[in-house]
């Protein structure tokens, strides 16, 4: 069952990548990044049946980092919304050349 799980992981990762590229809503982009993290988590869990418990430990670490990232990222989105009154990523382009 390893190969189908890895293919599912690849599909989820690609769909997440597509979402990050084509959407403009910053919150949806964040959700798609979480989707990519989960795709990698699935690959880790599937491979842990073949390489030992470390795969599951890394998933635990990834989840913690994802929680921290979501908290800080959403705080940044709130801060941006307060400034620009929108979460459309095309609207805050100060760093763009």
């Amino acid at each position: 069952m390893l190969t189908p799980a890895l293919y599912l992981s690849a599909v989820l990762f690609v769909v997440g990548t597509l979402g990050v590229i084509v959407r403009r809503n910053a919150i949806i982009i964040f959700l798609c990044i979480e989707l990519q993290l989960n795709a990698v988590n699935l690959a880790f869990v599937a491979l842990s049946r073949y390489t030992g418990i470390e795969g599951q430990l890394y998933v635990f670490f990834v989840m913690t980092v994802a929680a921290a990232e979501a908290a800080v990222g959403l705080a940044i989105i709130i801060s941006i919304f307060r400034h620009y009154e929108t979460v459309n990523v095309d609207k805050f382009n100060v760093l763009k050349w």
């Binding site: 590229i21 809503n25 709130i78 307060r82």
Partner: protein, 180 residues
């Protein structure tokens, strides 16, 4: 039975992922994401990772998704789908990028086989099942976590503390009297 459940969960997870990308309102995308996370938790159970399945439901589908929902509600973003998708040249470029990513992933995957990366998949799986039977689903993760990986674990706690402080500082309204 396991294969049938896997296919079921995989279909729900993929459909949910597509729903996240195509969802009209952010709340709909979020609910699709919860479906994806729940079915991934089911797949974790199929791979005997019971503790991670519980964490996935409690922390991911519970806490993190509620945080997203809370921000969506707080900023009142339920209804601005127009001009959200990028079309035209940008969309074509994104399809090229996604196609290349998919190609690289498939090329990397065609080398794997059921024997596993080290060729002793069945032995490792049997050892893992024996450890779960001996220490329990939590103990088998907690044991290396508090011995070999204890430094990483403590750093993780520090990371969470930094994240909490950073979130409070970033989301705090600017005080006009402080001369910001």
């Amino acid at each position: 039975m396991t294969e049938i459940l896997f296919v079921l969960f995989a279909v729900v997870a993929t459909g949910g992922a597509i729903g996240v990308v195509t969802g009209r309102s952010p709340v709909a995308s979020l609910l699709f994401m919860v479906a994806t996370l729940a079915s991934l938790a089911g797949i974790f159970v199929l791979f005997e990772a019971h503790f991670l399945a519980a964490i996935q439901v409690l922390v991911y589908a519970g806490a993190i998704m509620v945080l997203f929902l809370f921000v969506i509600m707080l900023l009142n973003l339920g209804h601005d789908y127009r001009a959200d998708l990028k079309f035209g040249a940008w969309f074509l470029l994104s399809l090229v990028v996604v196609g290349l990513t998919a190609g690289v992933l498939v090329q990397g995957l065609t080398g794997t086989d059921e024997a596993g990366p080290r060729g002793d998949g069945a032995a490792v799986a049997a050892a893992l099942d024996a450890a779960v039977a001996e220490k329990g689903a939590v103990g088998v993760i907690a044991d290396p976590l508090f011995t070999d990986y204890v430094v990483a674990f403590e750093l993780m706690g520090l990371l969470l503390l930094v994240a909490i402080v950073a979130a409070v500082v970033l989301a705090k309204p600017r005080n006009p009297e402080a001369g910001e």
